[in-house]
Symmetry: C2
Subunit: 400 residues, 2 copies
């Protein structure tokens, strides 16, 4: 009786495979390499507690009251400071916007920019939940293959040239230049500059997802595209989920004032504003240097865990498998030989006590059936070793 | 250069008149009767501080971590308890859903249910920001005039009969049965029962906005429609903004499990989940009885302020003006004689030091040009007296 009441848009909503998977592993004795949760030992619990107390006691008329849609001024000022740590300069608080996690920023950006049939470029593979939002907008996709160095810009430029020859136009490239999820790649500075030039030449916008920008634990983190952006083409999406706490659900956008205005209009309809309390907590965490103190701790933790996972993979995975060696972030991506189907394999893996995300979820066209994403941020080192070992044994059996 | 990148949907986004107004009054010496802010003296600051400390210290792995999309189990359990205080029984935690303010619940509900051209009924007048969300869905409207007793169900039934005769069907009635915003009306029990029967007979859903259900300060608060709902037609929208703190941006939905599942799918795209910290704070505030202690305090505060406003209106408004005598909520609605245009009058009112919301913003067809909404929850009693006096003087001048 209920179906007839639903809007047509509902058919384009896809459940997040990761979330459905997490449900299956709940309460069971399964080592989950499937999730994307930060290591809770990296949460600065005492600092957040003290800050929460302070902002509630000293400024209840802000932290507990309705506040302006784009964000609280004190928070936006601190976002300018945080952005400068990533090399983004020449902006002021009115170039910033507070969102309920960077997920809301993705949702709003795609809703404001993408109509059905518009051409949108995405990396192959790319962040699954961004793909789910994008799918609801029904674009035409331009797939940009991921190389070990990041998106293949030669291939991308060919696609741009072909589109142009056909009288079509790319509107937007959604890209994760640093510690790509799931691919684990990081673009070099030259490629970043070239991408900005392509955007200018072919007149498209870039949505830059910098979720892991602060989590580069090996070598330097190259500046985000936004730091190289001279023509306000880059919409920068950031998050506190990986550097403070995901439970605050706090993200932000840095963009042109024109785009910030559009975000404000949509956000008035969506949820009026991002919670005042979480903005005030994050503002103080930046002001008091909590985040700057925390970043090296998180990097060290994740580097150690990555090393444990890479070594375990090296020891137990089939010889013809390939995998990323991420310099940051929370994931290793694995390419198995073509005969594997990681979707089909998942049930048996879970029966043996380990979960992963089948890689095809990260491809807009559901290709990449021989790939998988493994998370190293949340499991303990011992779980990482055991989980990878179980998985490796299974893969070798199937391989044989 | 930027316009060409925007999606077609953007044209249907309307800025909230209230928010734009608030901006105009910012930093100026204007008494604002325009807002909808709770009285911050009713925030249980010390309780919230202590609870925040406790939930951060004792359960950081929940309050600071990613949590399930529909809401944290502990919070959903407490929502069942809170709902029972409003007479809603026979539900369990899986009938509840946590949202970023009830605004997000409105946004999701209208997006899940309303396609362009669908018939949707709204009260005339009704909550402006709900109208703005609805406008973006481009429905056909069925206007239900507001009488001093609430929506005119005779008129509504005629509309339903006419639609049916034309082979059309109403899909949804968005209604605020208790302490209506802006009209200040409260439906009696008989009308509530009759509305449920109409929904069953004509096969439509009801989105019940109960934002002010706990804020009835005169007589008893009749049970919400959801408490009378035998066929799961009512989608109940609640909020903590009026009973705890709006800065938490925390709302909730109570509905059939089928509808909760649809909310979950959309919310995964929208923002993954409502902040864990704010859910944990509200759960504890219910569990510790903070909200039950707070409700009588808020009621007393608002009753006193309403009385001050009503007396001031009585003393200074033109004799041919009519106004609501709300038994709850935060607003008085005023009908002036037909010659008034409250949109045009606003500039002069603000020049003289008082702001209000022109009533036409609350009518889907922008009628009601002779009406205005006055807020009594936020201004001090002295401001209420002075603000109404300035306004009354202006109205009498124009009247003369």
């Amino acid at each position: 009786m209920f179906e007839k009441f639903l809007s047509h848009d509902v058919q384009y909503l896809r459940s997040s495979e990761i979330r459905d998977l997490l449900k299956l592993t709940e309460g069971k004795n399964v080592i989950s390499l499937a999730g994307g949760l930060p290591d809770p030992s990296t949460f600065p619990v005492e600092d957040i507690k003290r800050i929460a107390e302070d902002v509630i006691s000293s400024k209840p008329e802000i932290s507990l009251q309705y506040t302006p849609t784009p964000g609280i001024t004190e928070f936006r000022e601190q976002l300018v400071k945080l952005a400068s740590l990533r090399g983004i300069t020449g902006i002021d608080p009115t170039n910033t916007f507070a969102t309920v996690g960077s997920q809301e920023a993705l949702y709003m950006t795609f809703n404001l920019l993408v109509d059905p049939g518009d051409y949108v470029a995405v990396e192959k593979p790319t962040y699954l939940t961004a793909l789910n939002v994008l799918r609801a907008r029904r674009p035409n996709y331009v797939g940009v293959p991921l190389t070990p160095e990041g998106p293949d810009l030669d291939s991308f430029e060919s696609s741009l040239r072909r589109l142009k020859a056909e009288g079509k136009r790319l509107k937007l490239f959604y890209v994760i230049p640093t510690a790509q999820n799931p691919g684990g790649t990081t673009m070099n500075l030259n490629d970043r500059k070239r991408l900005i030039e392509l955007a200018e030449e072919y007149d498209f916008l870039i949505a830059e997802d910098d979720a892991y920008g602060f989590l580069v634990f090996e070598g330097d983190s190259p500046p985000p595209l936004k730091a190289l952006d001279r023509s306000e083409r880059v919409i920068y999406l950031g998050t506190f989920s990986k550097i403070l706490s995901p439970g605050l659900r706090l993200g932000y956008v840095i963009a042109s004032k024109e785009f910030i205005n559009e975000l404000e209009l949509l956000k008035q309809n969506l949820d009026l504003h991002t919670p005042s309390l979480t903005q005030m907590i994050a503002a103080e965490a930046i002001k008091r240097g909590v985040i700057e103190r925390q970043i090296p701790i998180i990097r060290k933790t994740y580097k150690e865990k990555r090393d444990v996972m890479l070594q375990a993979i090296e020891e137990s995975f089939p010889k013809d498998a390939k995998w990323s060696r991420p310099v940051g972030g929370m994931f290793v991506f694995v390419w198995l030989s073509e005969k594997f189907d990681t979707v089909k394999l998942l049930e048996e893996a879970m029966r043996r006590g380990v979960a992963y995300v089948p890689g095809s979820s990260f491809f807009y066209d559901y290709s990449g059936r021989n790939t998988m994403r493994l998370n190293f941020s949340f499991p303990s080192k011992d779980e990482l070793r055991r989980g990878v070992e179980i998985l490796g044994k299974l893969l070798k059996e199937v391989s044989a």
